[in-house]
């Protein structure tokens, strides 16, 4: 499966439980999120928000409503 690299705008959350966790980390609507890379075999995503780095599981990233801003290629 391929995932787009690049910058995204966070529009909202699909899951309130996840929202509570991510907001506490400073990941919330209105912030820009950049997907940088992905760990092996369907592993976690390495993302950057507000010049800070985070590790997010696939379901955690997909729990965010995102709008793509720039295309940075694909993450395998």
């Amino acid at each position: 499966m391929y995932y787009p690299k690049g910058k995204f705008l966070i529009l909202g959350f699909k899951d309130p439980f996840l929202a509570a966790r991510l907001i506490a980390l400073g990941i919330y609507p209105g912030k820009e999120l950049e997907i940088k890379r992905k760990a092996l075999l369907g592993g976690a995503f390495y993302v950057e928000v507000d010049c800070c780095h985070f590790a997010l599981r696939e379901d955690e990233l997909f729990g965010l409503e995102l709008k793509q801003l720039t295309d940075g290629g694909a993450v395998v």
């Binding site: 309130p16 439980f17 996840l18 929202a19 509570a20 966790r21 991510l22 907001i23 506490a24 980390l25 400073g26 990941i27 919330y28 890379r37 992905k38 760990a39 092996l40 075999l41 369907g42 592993g43 976690a44 390495y46 507000d50 010049c51 800070c52 780095h53 985070f54 590790a55 997010l56 599981r57 696939e58 955690e60």
Partner: protein
């Protein structure tokens, strides 16, 4: 009279520099305990303020918000909102990294609204521009009406000032209470919060409505219901962020000033999928080598030191009961505790160095997915690999896993990973199963068999994890979402403090249990019913006269027969019918009992039983074992019995130190007992299957 002491909580986000400040303020005067109901460490230390008053400083686990997502965070929330909590502080020192202030102010705004007297320490000020420090200091002083102290634990900036200011936080606490709330509770929710004298203010009561049920489920019902509670939490947090964003814009804080350039460069390599995993494998090989091989030198010194002490005290104290207790019970027990110190110290030196560097968070990122599939956690990888050298430090290393279920599952399966203590047993037995043969000119058949045994242990550990996770209940969500801190050069003082704390907690907590079990085992193998040993000795001496044995052979035979007739020997005979289906006799039964002290004791016990004297040479033992026959004249250690015995040692929890450490780390007897029974049953069935299959 008990002196009154004030409690001050040290609070902050993970990686805010909180623990460095705690270590600086308390030095070695620290006590590690645990928070009630959870296996989260509570660290506290006593300091004396300049006016002579005694202050207890509590280092709370790092948290991002009082709306807790993990046990670590819940511990803080509970302590701050429950006035009856034994860790409820009188005041708070809040530590926040000046370069990450926009991220780390959320929790501070919540604490301020709880009306705690607060001192804010802006850490890492040696890395920030003076102008930025000044702007933040003035702004926060004005907005929060509390003292702001820029500090650096690296350059010791203002740390003494902080110590001086601590007493003022207590004395002038009323000054801090005149602040306006930073978060405005919505009118419709405020109306529902009837006044309650048990709580400091409306925000305290609001938090109690969120978490009261979790704290005291019997008394307080969840007021909001889960969904509404989450909605309120999100609204509250976003409102606080609006306020923080306003402050950030006021001082024109440029987030790009963070030291992320180096981090980006390093992470481009260390978190690159294939390269990252390869580099970690090399690092783990280095760690494995360190605890497996390098630690063996100091371990040998400790063992030979105790052996010398044992000899000298034996000569000094003579042959009485007290002397035997000291020389054969206490000293080997102490030696059994101290011998693990080098491995624990080396492992924790390396792990905490990597943790301080910021690398361990990357390890979690790299391995989380693979290990999550079997019910483990990215951080489990260190414990699992270290378990290949010794389960004791490996189990202790799981403290860094913040999800309680993942941690328990990891601790449960670590003893299945083949440790170095199994090697002498395998060496003595493997020759009976696989004859020495060269394979392709480079490998030898016995080496391959060793490799297969290691693989078997790893596979069994992973399979066990997949099953056991369903039996460990938790209401904690399994989340990864975590910040990856910037790389920073570790401070050696912090690293050494961790090593000191781990060694101390092992020696004084697990050490007591190891010592006790060791003395019980000594008693069982050295004593019997009254007159039994005298009778045995007379019989052997008469036999020896008739058979023409020399005095050394006679003494060895006496030792062997005494062990046979000791309480341990009788227990061995008692359990013989249970282990007979595995192909074992009473001699092996005794070895199984005594080697609960440690697996390698098998070699010494079997040597004594076979009258080889106190010889720990596994090759000599193997030669003697090769001659052992059953009553029908067939060889005792044939292929099936040997495989059966190897598998028993591969899976059974033959290690009192592992038992003791599990007891200490889980803070309950239940888990080590369940683990002991599970591993025992697994060993029994694997051995039974092997004995009847081959």
């Amino acid at each position: 009279m008990v002196e009154q002491s004030y409690k001050i909580g040290l609070v902050g986000n993970p990686n805010s520099g909180k623990t460095s400040i705690f270590n600086h303020l308390t030095g070695l005067n620290q006590k590690v305990g645990n928070y009630p109901g959870v296996t989260v460490d509570s660290k506290s230390g006593k300091i004396r303020a300049k006016d002579g008053s005694l202050i207890e400083l509590i280092d709370f686990p790092g948290a991002y918000s009082l709306h807790s997502n993990t046990y670590d965070e819940f511990v803080l929330t509970r302590a701050l909102i429950d006035l009856k909590d034994p860790h409820h502080p009188d005041a708070i020192i809040y530590v926040a990294d000046i370069l990450l202030l926009d991220k780390q102010l959320l929790l501070l705004t919540q604490i301020v609204d709880l009306e705690f007297p607060v001192i804010v320490c802006l850490s890492n000020c040696d890395l920030a521009e003076p102008e930025l420090i000044e702007k933040w200091t003035l702004l926060l002083e004005q907005k929060l009406k509390c003292p702001i102290i820029p500090v650096s634990s690296k350059s010791y900036l203002n740390l003494d000032t902080l110590k001086e200011r601590i007493q003022s936080i207590i004395r002038f606490s009323h000054i801090f209470l005149s602040r306006k709330n930073l978060y405005t509770i919505p009118e419709h929710e405020l109306e529902k919060l009837e006044s309650n004298a048990l709580f400091k203010n409306a925000y305290n009561y609001l938090l109690w409505k969120h978490y009261g049920q979790k704290i005291q489920s019997s008394r307080i019902n969840n007021y909001f219901g889960k969904e509404h509670s989450l909605k309120l939490q999100i609204e509250e947090t976003l409102e606080r962020y609006d306020l923080i964003d306003e402050w950030v814009s006021l001082i024109q804080f440029n987030k790009n000033t963070r030291s992320k350039e180096n981090t980006n460069k390093i992470d481009a390599v260390l978190t690159q999928p294939l390269v990252g995993v390869t580099i970690f494998t090399v690092i783990m090989f280095f760690i494995f080598q360190a605890i497996f091989s390098w630690a063996s030198y100091p371990m040998d010194w400790i063992e030979s030191g105790f052996a010398t002490l044992q000899g000298s005290l034996g000569d000094l104290l003579g042959d009485g009961l007290f002397s035997q207790l000291i020389v054969k019970g206490l000293i080997p027990g102490l030696s059994g505790v101290m011998v693990f110190i080098p491995q624990i110290a080396i492992l924790f030196f390396l792990i905490s160095w990597m943790e301080e560097l910021g690398y361990m968070a990357r390890v979690v990122y790299l391995f989380d997915h693979l290990l999550k599939k079997v019910g483990l956690n990215g951080r489990s990888v260190v414990g699992l690999i270290s378990g290949g050298a010794c389960a004791i430090p490996a189990i202790m290393s799981t403290r860094s896993i913040n999800n309680q279920r993942d941690r328990l599952v990891t601790m449960f399966v670590i003893p299945l990973i083949p440790c170095s203590a199994r090697i002498p047993v395998y060496t003595a037995l493997i020759g009976f199963v696989v004859p020495y043969k060269e394979i392709m000119g480079i490998f030898n058949s016995q080496g391959v068999a060793f490799m297969a045994l290691y693989s078997l242990g790893i596979v069994m550990a992973l399979l066990t994890a997949m099953v056991i996770r369903y039996f460990v209940k938790t209401d904690e969500l399994s989340v990864l979402a975590m910040q990856l801190p910037d790389y920073r050069l570790p401070q050696m003082r912090q690293v050494l403090m961790v090593v000191y704390e781990k060694v101390k907690s092992f020696v004084f907590e697990a050490g007591k249990i190891i010592l006790l079990i060791s003395i019980i085992l000594w008693f069982m193998s050295s004593f019997s019913w009254k007159g039994e040993f005298d009778k045995v000795e007379q019989e052997v001496r008469m036999e020896s006269k008739m058979m023409g044995r020399d005095s050394l052979e006679t003494l060895s035979e006496i030792e062997a027969r005494k062990l046979e007739h000791s309480f341990a020997g009788q227990a061995g005979r008692f359990i013989e019918p249970i282990v007979e289906p595995l192909g074992f006799d009473w001699k092996i039964s005794i070895a199984l009992l005594t080697s609960f002290a440690a697996r390698e004791v098998f070699v010494g016990t079997m040597s004594t039983i076979y009258s080889l004297g106190s010889n720990d040479d596994e090759i000599l033992l193997r030669d003697r074992m090769a001659l052992e026959k059953r009553s029908d004249g067939s060889l005792f250690f044939d292929k099936k019995t040997s495989i059966s015995l190897i598998l028993f040692y591969a899976f059974a929890m033959q290690c009192m130190s592992t038992f003791a450490v599990m007891w200490k780390e889980t803070r309950t007897k239940r888990w080590p007992i369940v683990q002991f029974i599970y591993m025992g049953l697994l060993a029994y069935f694997a051995s039974w299957l092997a004995y009847h299959w081959f």
